[in-house]
């Protein structure tokens, strides 16, 4: 027989390889999709989005969790009620945990043991984006580090790479653990990573991030770092600010006024 089994397997294997490697090349030629798809006339745009956290103002109202509640509600973040499965986008961390490299036993009392808001730093040089094998997490031109929950394969390399512990993995189906599902925002499936997105969906329709809007003390200021007249630039000009683990070269875009 001229076309025996071995030959068939050889040809079938080669066909598979050609199909699999040919597809991305085809896509690269065919693809021409812009990153900012919103055409809303009053959408918010920037060259480099950033956030400033005014820790003094934040601590004014003790035990306040308005921003956390607002964010987790509108983004359908589940509450599993245990630390093992926990998913969170923005949360309180003790000062000494948020700023590990700022160890100081005799720190001023108004900060020591006090909670600091932490969330994704939307780094200019994000390690999570560098390591993602599918580009499911990527940096937009305006500086937002985004997640594509439909592409993520759940390898959790990004979680290992993030020096801030900002990423959560869905260890199990999150849907039964969402108190009240908001239909405007997608829920996630089990097996994917998620995190803060600077509310890209709200910016696209001209709204500030949910945490910024929810904070009555105005402790959170969101804006364009490339615009010298922006509120965030004015604030950073007038106050001393620090960032988390700057030595790692990630260029975090969340600034803390202490």
């Amino acid at each position: 027989m001229s076309f025996d089994r071995r030959k068939f397997i050889k040809i079938a294997g080669l066909t598979t390889i050609v199909t699999l490697t040919g597809k991305p090349v085809f896509d690269a030629i065919a693809a021409d999709s812009p990153l900012n798809v919103s055409t809303e006339p009053n959408r918010l745009t920037a060259k480099r989005w950033a956030m400033a956290v005014n820790t003094k103002k934040c601590l004014e109202k003790e035990g306040c969790t308005d921003c956390i509640t607002a964010c987790h509600h509108i983004h359908n973040v589940p509450d599993f009620g245990n630390p093992k499965d926990e998913v969170k986008w923005i949360w309180h961390e003790k000062y000494e945990n948020a700023f590990l490299d700022q160890e100081n036993e005799y720190m001023e009392e108004k900060l020591k043991d006090k909670p600091v808001l932490v969330f994704c730093n939307h780094c200019d040089n994000p390690p999570c984006v560098r390591v993602c094998p599918t580009q499911a997490t990527f940096r937009r031109e305006d500086g937002i580090v985004m997640m594509d929950w439909h592409r993520c394969i759940g390898c959790r390399y990004c979680v290992a790479a993030c020096p801030y512990g900002s990423r959560s993995f869905n260890w199990r189906d999150p849907r039964p653990f969402i108190k009240e599902i908001v239909p405007d925002f997608p829920t996630r499936t089990r097996g994917v990573v998620e995190k803060c997105t600077f509310c890209d969906e709200r910016l696209a329709i001209g709204l500030q991030p949910a945490c910024v809007e929810a904070c009555k003390e105005k402790a959170l200021v969101f804006g364009d770092l490339e615009d010298p007249k922006s509120e965030i630039r004015e604030l950073l000009k007038a106050n001393f600010s620090i960032r988390r683990k700057p030595a790692l070269g990630t260029q975090p875009e969340v600034y803390y006024i202490v």
Partner: protein, 385 residues
């Protein structure tokens, strides 16, 4: 040639059915994991890689170690290893297959795994690891098939296979180098962020792999007519002695930099491993077992009298293998996550479903080794004793 795996005595089939049962159990628990999610494992928000990825890392080393018999035989024409190379290559194929499976079972969305190929991302080390691992699998499958086929026909292997065999030597180094890069390229994980990690991976690989190969040869000698003679075993044991010494030396280098420099964050994971932090000390007995086994094995290996005695050598090989398995297959990956980037200590321990799924993958690997070795020995007419 595959049909040779279908004939065997009762003992052979009992072993095969035993392995298939373990595979079946593992598969059933994997179906459960697919339904429930990876929450079925002991992993948590803080410790996101565990037993699966650690086994992957350890087995990449076992796979890479085939080069320790291939290199002397093909590059230095060291004839003593003529009977060993095929065993090394078959071990490599089985180990790489297990590696790939351990990565797949660790994925949250395994059905999307093909996204790595659909959206190739050269900045991701996983992308490169996929290329080198599968390349190594193809190389070894091709080499072992062609050389064994030639041996069956009692002819010299075709000339074109030689450059491919030579290529497989640096390729073996590459699989463990790239796997180490997954870890040591992350600035936010001080425990892994060390240039010595890659050489340490290679040294431990070239100790644990040949140790396992010697153990396999001992088993084959007991149950089959296969006997490579004393010389290749002794040569391999020398290789293990050098590699294991380097491995222990590299660990001591790590401890020196971390503790002499006084750098707090570089010490934390070591402190967790060796002494525990704030009473969290689940890995402490394991890591000390690993250290004791390493020292014990070196004592047996350094002394030529014990090294050249098959009984003591077997004990030494078991010690080397277990020591490195604990170090890489439990300690290395988990300790990188403890303490967390926020300075918190969350402990990890695999759950029973997790362990059974991993056991299923190991069973599949052992089944492959069994079948491959059966074929190799059948071709040489060395099966029954």
């Amino acid at each position: 040639m595959l049909e040779k795996a279908l004939y065997g005595d009762r003992r052979y089939w009992t072993w095969v059915i035993f392995l298939m049962t373990l595979m079946g159990i593992g598969f059933l628990f994997y179906l459960r994991q697919l339904e429930y999610g990876l929450g079925i494992t002991g992993l948590s928000r803080d410790v996101t890689w565990g037993f699966y990825i650690a086994q992957f890392t350890f087995l990449v080393g076992v796979a890479a170690s085939a080069v320790m018999v291939v290199l002397p035989y093909y590059l230095h024409d060291y004839k003593v290893f003529s009977k060993m190379t095929i065993l090394g290559e078959f071990l490599a194929i089985s180990a790489v297959t297990m590696c790939v499976l351990f990565v797949v079972i660790d994925l949250g969305q395994p059905m999307r795994a093909v996204n790595i190929i659909l959206h190739p991302t050269p900045s991701s080390i996983i992308f490169w690891d996929l290329i080198v691992l599968n390349g190594y699998l193809v190389l070894n499958a091709l080499i072992s098939r062609v050389t064994l086929d030639a041996e069956r026909k009692s002819i010299a292997p075709p000339k074109w296979i030689k450059p491919i065999i030579i290529l497989s030597i640096p390729w073996a180094i590459s699989i463990h180098t790239v796997t180490a890069f997954i870890y040591c390229g992350l600035g936010g994980r001080p425990f892994w962020f060390t240039a010595i990690l890659t050489p340490r991976f290679l040294a431990s690989a070239f100790a644990s792999g040949p140790a396992f190969l010697i153990l396999l040869v001992m088993i084959l000698k007991k149950f089959t007519k296969f006997d490579p003679g004393k010389e290749p075993i002794f040569k391999l044991s020398e290789i293990i002695t050098y590699a294991m010494s380097l491995n222990v030396f590299f660990i001591l280098l790590e401890l020196f930099t971390a503790f002499y420099s006084g750098m707090h964050e570089h010490q934390q994971s070591f402190l967790y491993l060796f002494f525990g932090i704030d009473g969290h000390a689940r890995l402490v007995p394991w890591i000390w077992t690993s250290i004791i086994l390493a020292v014990f094995s070196l004592i047996l290996l350094f002394n030529p009298k014990t090294r050249r005695n098959e009984k003591f050598l077997t004990i030494a090989c078991i010690s080397v293998f277990l020591s490195i398995w604990i170090d890489k297959g439990i300690g290395m990956v988990v300790a990188g996550f403890v303490p967390s980037p926020l300075g918190k200590v969350t402990e990890y321990w695999p759950t029973i479903p997790e362990a059974l799924i991993a056991l299923g993958v190991y069973a599949l690997g052992f089944l492959l080794i069994t079948i491959f070795y059966k074929i190799a020995l059948s071709v040489r007419g060395e099966v029954a004793k």
